[in-house]
Symmetry: C2
Subunit: 106 residues, 2 copies
């Protein structure tokens, strides 16, 4: 166990789960943006797309922060939002998993 | 001739030309955004689209300002950029047209 409170094995599990969730959310977002763009009929629709992208970019920038100190919260949010299945975090220690599950239910 | 230096007839010509240029530029922009969106393959492409929309929105907001005091400059730019043909401004007085032509060549 390192100073961070995450073993090397846990780090590997965490990094993989994190990347998986990120790829999924990005893939879904790309689909959404393509659909919105193909449905643009007037200028207003284009600015709606622009506002949507601004909001999502800001949201994603804040959300996918890989720091050990906030990882429990990040994973709880990703599980809650459906980007990650709790099973994909197997390998983390029981305490961490229990916290993630509890936070995801809030 | 009103206080603004634009006759009612000139106002009509100007407003029509202005609207025409705006509709053309918007239509071209919508096409461009659709094309860019359909070509998004990864997250980076999406932020490129976002930056592009931010820049174009800012640009259009400043450019399509219908105020008599700046209209000569606006039309010169629209002619220069190809969104308006000088013939579509026929009906404006000779001085105004000459200024627009001269500015458009700069």
């Amino acid at each position: 166990m390192s100073e961070t409170g995450w073993s090397n094995f846990e780090e590997t599990v965490a990094q993989e789960a994190f990347d998986k969730a990120y790829q999924r959310e990005i893939a879904a977002l790309i689909e959404e943006v393509r659909a919105q763009a193909s449905a643009i009929a007037e200028i207003k629709d284009m600015w709606v797309l622009h506002d949507f992208l601004s909001a999502r970019r800001h949201d994603l920038d804040g959300k996918y922060e890989y720091r050990n100190s906030v990882l429990i919260f990040v994973f709880a949010r990703l599980v809650k939002e459906g980007w990650l299945n709790i099973k994909e975090l197997e390998g983390l220690d029981k305490d961490k998993l229990a916290k993630i599950v509890a936070l995801a239910r809030m």
